[in-house]
Each structure stands twice: as C-alpha cells, then as structure tokens.
Symmetry: C2
C-alpha cells in the first residue's frame, strides 16, 4: 500500500476545503454577522494541516497509484473533509458538540441534507454559506467520482456507460480524466448560476438564491430557512426548484452532449427514459390517490406531488409541505421513494435508476428463460447486451443495500427509536435523501437522536454516497493482502 | 396447450378434496356437532364435480403433458381446491361470505394461517378438522400426494413436481417421482403421528392434538383455540411445538436420509447449517435485547423468544404471546423474519434459506471480485460450485418478491389500511406466515379488511406458496406462444 500518496492527496483536499470556507465571509460582512473570525481560524487550521500533510508526503511515488489506494483516498478524503469541515461550527459555538457538527458536515459533503439544527435561521450567514458549500462541493465531487474515477476502480453504476462517457478507459488514470472533470464542473457551474438567476427573478435574496442553488444542484437539500423550501410559496419558485432538482438528478454526461447540441442521447438512454417515466408515473399515481384527501386545487395538488416525488427520487430532500399527514398510501409511496435514487452520473444518491432498470429487466427475462431454458437471453441496456458480471454486481449491490438498511434500522431501534423513525432514518441516510419518517420526518430533524445513532448514520451517509463497495471493500480480507 | 389433461387432473384433485372433507365427521359425531350434513353435502358436490370433470376429459392425451400444462395444473388446481374447499363453511353458515370462506381455505391450502374467524372456538369440530386438514394437505402438496397415489400421471409427474415444489435444489432422492412423493408423504405422516403422541402426553385432547399436529407439520399455524397456542401454558407442550415447527421447516429429504441412519447430510448441508445458526442467533439477539424490557425468567424469555423466532422463520405463525408490545427492536426483527422462510423442500414458505445463503455468499464474493477482477470466483453451496444461471434466478426471485410485497402494501393502503397493517398483511401473506403487524398482528385477524383486500391477499398467498414463478410465468407472453 502506498500510504504516502494517499495522505498527499488528502493534504491537497484539505487545502481546498480550507480555501472554500472563505467565500461566505463577504456575506457575513454584509449582514454584520459574528462568524468571520471563526471562519478565518477554521480555514487557517485546515489549510495548515493540509499543507503539512502535503509537505511531509511530497516525495510520494505518484506513478504507483492503484485501485486500493483509490478506494482509500476516496473514503478517507470524505472523512477528513467532514472532520475539518465541522471546525467552523465548533469554533463559532453554534453547534457545540463534535458529534453534531460532524454529522451536519458529513450530511453536507454526502449531499444528504439531514440536519441536527433546530433553528437554522439563527445561524450567521457565513456558516450557512459554508453549510451549503459543503453540499455543493460534495455534489461536484460525486459527479467527478462517478463519471471519471469510480469506473476505473471497477465500481459504480457508470460502468454501464463507460463507452459513452468521454475520458473513461478501464485500465488506469487516463490523462483525459482531467479533461472530463473540467467539463463536468463547467456544466455544474453553469446550471448553478442559471438557478441563482431564476431564483433571484423569483424574489429570493442573492444570498438565499446562491445557497439554495448550491443545495439543489447537489441534490443536497440543506435550506437557509426552518421551513425548508416550503418558506417560498411562489408557484414560480417552486417550479424552478422542481426543474433544477430534475436536472441535478440526470446523468451529467447527457447534459454534456445536450449542451453540444446532441439531444438524441436523451432518447437513446434507457436510464433517463425510466427516470422521466417514473417521475411522471409516481406523481400521477400519488396525485390521483392523494387528491381526494385534501382540498387542493388541481394545480396545487400536481405541484406539491411532483415537488415531493422529484425531491425524494433525486435524493434532494427539499420539503414543500408536511407529507407525513397525507394518506397512508402516499406515506408508503414516499417511504419507497427513499430507495429509488437519481440517475448514475448525477449528483443524486440511492440505488439509482440504471440498477433498478437492470434488475427489473433481468427479473422479467427470468420468466422467458423459464419457458426457454436452453436459450441465452441477455439483458439489453442502451441497446447493448449487458454482461452477466454486471448484472451480478448490481444485484449484489441491491442485496447489500437492503441488508445495511435493515441492520441500520435494528441498530437505531436498539437505542429506543420507534419503528417509523428507525426505518426512516436508516433509509434516508443510506440513500442520501435527508428527511425520513416520524421524528426525523419532513418537519422534524435529527437533533434528538442519541450520539451513537448520529455516528452510525454518519457512516451510513458515507457508505451510501460512495456506492457501498468503495467503503465496504475494505472489510474484505483480500483488500489488505499483498 | 393440452386443456383436456389439465382438467382431467383437476377433476382427480377435486375427488381427493371431497374425500378429505369426511375424516372430521367422527369428531362431529363424538362432540355432537351440527356440521355433519354440511360436510356430507359439500363432499358430495366436490366429488361429483370432480368425477364429471374427470369423466368428460378422460380421453385426454396423457403423453402430452409439458411444462406449460404443469404450471397451469398446479395454479388452477390450488384455486379450484380452495373454491370447493370453502363450501363446507358456506353451507354450514359459520362463514357466510364466499370471499371470507375462500380466503380462509386458500390460507389453509397455502399453509399461511391468516384467518378471518374472530371466535374460532365457536366452530363445530368437523369444520375445524377440515380447516386443519386443508393445511396438512397443502403442507406436503396435493400434487405430491396425487403423484404418490395416482398411476396416470407417471409420465408428466416431474413437470408437476417441479411446478409445485419449485425450490432451487432439485434433490429428488429417487429417480422416480412417484417413489419420491411416496417417501415424502411417509415421513410427513410419521412426524405428524409423533407430534400427536407428544401433544396427547402433554395433556391435549386427541382432537386438539391432531389439529395442531396437522398445522404444525404444515407450518400452517391454524389453531382450534382463539388464543392460538398461547392457550397451552404447559412448558412441555410449548417445547413440543418448537421442536416440530423446527422439523417442519427442515428439508424433508434430509429427514429421509436421517431416518435411514445417515446423519452426515445435516452436517454437509449449507442451508440446514444456516437455518440452525440463524434460529439460534436471532433468538439470542432478541432475547438479549428484549429481556430487560420484561420481567420474564431466563427460561421463559428464552422459550418465548425461541418460540416466536421459530414460528415466524418457519412461516408457521403460531403465537405464544403478543409480541407486538415488545421493544421496538424486537418488532423490527419480527417484521424482518416475515421475509426469511424455512428451508427448501420443507413445508415452509417465504424466500427460504437456500436463496438467502446464495445471495449473501454472492454479495460477499463481489468484494473479492472487485479486487481480483480477472479471477472467476464461483459461489459454493453444499460443497459444489453454483452456476451463474441459478444465482441470477435466485436474485430475480428476490427482486420480484420485494416488488410484489411493495405493490401489495400500496394496494392495501389504498383501501385505507394504516402503514403497519398494510406492510404486515402484504409480507405475511406473501410469505405464508399468518400473523402480521397492527390490525392483522398476533392478536388480531383479517376479518375487518375490505373484501377487495382479501382477494388480493388470497392471490398473494398462492403466489408465495407456489414460489412466484409458477403463477407469474403465465403473465409472460412467451407462455402463451406456441
């Protein structure tokens, strides 16, 4: 194991983290908030640690970066960034407990959006900005990881697209990865800027617009308001959120092609078609069932339903009303939605449509295989046959995902959480969604959970965000063998 | 499609069904009950219909019995038997609604044990006996019974055997299906007789002993008492139930070898080892967690927990106390147990240990495969490598199972059932367990559910009992193509 290169990269990530704590300071100055010193000190601590790590490992053998090092860099990187990212909250004192601050920052970097803060509006603007920034960085990070790096490690749903995405070759870190990463960041920045513009037009302050755009494009779901996006009752603003959540949940390589005038890719992409059909289908079904239970107008019923379906499916977790008191049917639907996830190569978490699609197709073909036992009937995805290895990997992913969810629910219930809260918290953190059921439902938060549970859920957020294998592969003895 | 042979066999099944309504009559005479005429008339109607069907199709081409016919015979056979099996309840008037009577009989034949009867003790003994009999027949499988005694079906026997006992380990221990079927029934009868003996020693009346032995060995769970087996507070009787539930949840081919002195098979059988470890593990975990919440003695805590774990895992569904007011942790465990199921080749329903074992092993190997992408690492089961086709089939089974469970919960919640009741009813009927959560929990019953839900759940019981593919393959267009 090349330990030096691992800490060299982590050092660099910390320098970056430290620098990104600073852009919120102008807002603190403008709003006359008391968090400027805290941010400066935190930034300094983080940058100095980063520089030190980087300096002491600068003789690392950079040509010797294998798969194992890749897994370790990604996992440890996220943990280090969350640990250092929680310093501003601690120094300022607005989140005095390290457990809470770590949970909040991990929830940020993993774009989960689960929060332990009861009164968000009390936070100074610099800290709020940093909190949204963690999501924006996390969102960006995951796109680059899933499109450019995970396929090289042999994991992630993007293996399916390897032929389509520029810059991905199976064997080693290709020089074009850098090019890919740059392009994806470009799209990310453009979309974020566009959302800021629309939100400002919709009446949000520049500060709120930037914060919400950060957390929308990351499918994160942190808000600067206690009522989350339900604070904004403008119909226009709500549709803007829906539209950009939808974009954020889409594979960014499709956006890349679209921005270059090739819209055909959307039509040919199996996952995207399933994504759109599912959003429409789930919205219509819930709306149809849910509507008689409320006195909403047709448009309001449609908008509220589409909002929540999009928010949960893309794993954003914005809330526009308390869906927990909707009909039992809608509650079960919303719980199931915690297990869907966006498209691969998007900023969304969860199981993701490519996997669902492959599993459904494979299950359906099993009937055909039963009747024609001698025929070889492969699953087709994006008009190509998918190998049995990938199917097997996807199904293993699903099994482990469900297993972790169950173990999580059991561990949480051990500390006395009720059935609903336990299954909701486990599902929503693993899926990087944000709100769950019961105590941690759309109008609740995670503050009252025991510290132990917060640590468990922090690990769950990381496992979910890094698509399980990246983290859990380290539990395999083969990982540590020479 | 050879329609004639299908109805020829169904005719024979109905004759058998009609005959099996009669053995309860001596008890009705002894207890001076009022259901003798109802049973005689029902038996007559069923037998006459059976003879008519059989007579009008006796020129069927018996050499032409393929897979498709096999699936249809089994699925339709169970539906016809449940329809005719509900006649005694209807004629006697103790279950006046056809929906309820059909649900109860389907719950019997599928060995689910879900009941719509509030006051079971009011039923006359002949009907109670018939109710337990439906489970006993369903446990070993009526087709298997037919194969053992019906000479005609020799040629297509395997098609029927594999459609009714779909499993994944096709360990016929005799080349001739008829011989296998006979031996299986032999063991089944011996075990049932042994349990009757033990229960009579434990103080049960002969009538109660036979009824409960029928429903234990079938992993059915119907009781003649309103309080289910909690009625018997004898420690000895409770351990007898635990022991025979355990036997019933074991692969019967292992019992066959054991009865011939070969006990090695238990040690070599991957599934059996997992079954035993899981029962012990789950019991210890629940006991450890659950105990501080109650003032049970160590022995009582152990017995109650082992009882419920065994009852739910083997899909029997006997109840020895209301576990719904145990700690949240135990409730989640018990809910998860609805998805376990006994061993393949047992009378238990559910997903079954062989499948869980294969999926867990395959998922675990996925980590190894990630690190050694070029190595071919097969799953090993019973010391043999398992083909990718079987793994794929098992994973498809799991996916479809979960999907049907979710669809079921959604359909049930549509009719206004609460979250708990909806997920509990869907899981317990699909898994052929019996009790669920909430309204349909261990001390509740299914009587208050809307008729529509009862039909849905009847279908679910059948789908679960015939291991999904046997029933659902008919939805595939390929099934109906020439």
């Amino acid at each position: 194991m090349n330990i030096k290169i691992i800490f060299n990269v982590i050092g660099f990530l910390l320098i970056l983290t430290g620098l990104l704590m600073l852009p919120g300071i102008p807002f603190s100055i403008y709003y006359k908030d008391d968090d400027i010193i805290s941010l400066l000190i935190s930034s300094l601590i983080t940058i100095i640690t980063g520089v030190a790590l980087w300096f002491f490992t600068k003789d690392a053998d950079k040509s010797n970066l294998g798969k194992r090092e890749g897994y370790l860099i990604v996992t440890l990187g996220w943990i280090f960034m969350s640990a250092f990212g929680s310093i501003p909250f601690l120094i300022h004192g607005s989140i005095p407990s390290f457990t809470d601050a770590f949970f909040e920052t991990m929830s940020g970097f993993t774009t989960t959006g689960a929060t332990i803060i009861g009164d968000i509006e009390k936070l100074p603007s610099g800290l709020l900005f940093w909190r949204s920034m963690t999501q924006w960085i996390g969102g960006m990070g995951i796109i680059v990881l899933s499109l450019a790096i995970m396929p090289l490690l042999g994991i992630g749903g993007m293996q399916l697209f390897s032929a389509e995405v520029p810059g991905i070759t199976k064997d080693k870190f290709h020089p074009r990865v850098k090019e890919t990463a740059k392009r994806l960041w470009g799209i990310y920045v453009i979309f974020t800027a566009a959302e800021v513009l629309f939100l400002v037009i919709g009446g949000l302050s520049l500060f709120d617009a930037i914060n919400h755009s950060f957390t929308t494009m990351a499918t994160g779901g942190f808000s600067t308001k206690n009522a989350s996006t339900a604070y904004y009752d403008s119909i226009f603003v709500q549709y803007v959120f829906i539209f950009f959540m939808f974009l954020a949940g889409t594979n960014f390589s499709l956006h890349y092609f679209a921005l270059h005038g090739n819209f055909e890719v959307f039509k040919k992409n199996t996952e995207f078609k399933l994504y759109v059909s599912f959003l429409i289908g789930a919205t219509l079904i819930v709306m149809f069932i849910h509507r008689p239970h409320h006195n909403f107008s047709f448009e309001e019923s449609f908008r509220q339903t589409l909002f929540h379906v999009t928010s949960l499916v893309t794993t954003t977790g914005f809330v526009s009303s308390d869906y927990e008191n909707w009909a039992p049917f809608s509650r079960i639907v919303f719980f199931v939605l915690l297990f869907i996830g966006g498209c691969t190569g998007s900023t969304g978490g969860g199981i993701k449509f490519a996997r669902h699609s492959l599993m459904l197709k494979n299950s359906w073909l099993e009937f055909k295989r039963l009747i024609h036992p001698r025929a070889i009937i492969p699953v087709r995805f994006n008009e190509k046959a998918v190998s049995q290895e990938i199917i097997s990997n996807v199904q293993a992913f699903f099994m482990i995902y469900i297993l972790i969810f169950i173990i999580g629910a059991l561990i949480l219930s051990l500390s006395g959480l009720d059935f609903f809260t336990a299954i909701g918290a486990s599902a929503t953190c693993l899926g990087n969604v944000g709100p769950g059921l019961g105590v941690v439902g759309p109008v609740g938060n995670f503050s009252t959970l025991p510290d132990f549970d917060k640590w468990v859920l922090s690990v769950f957020m990381l496992i979910g965000r890094l698509e399980i294998f990246t983290v859990l592969v380290m539990l395999s003895p083969s990982f540590w063998k020479k």
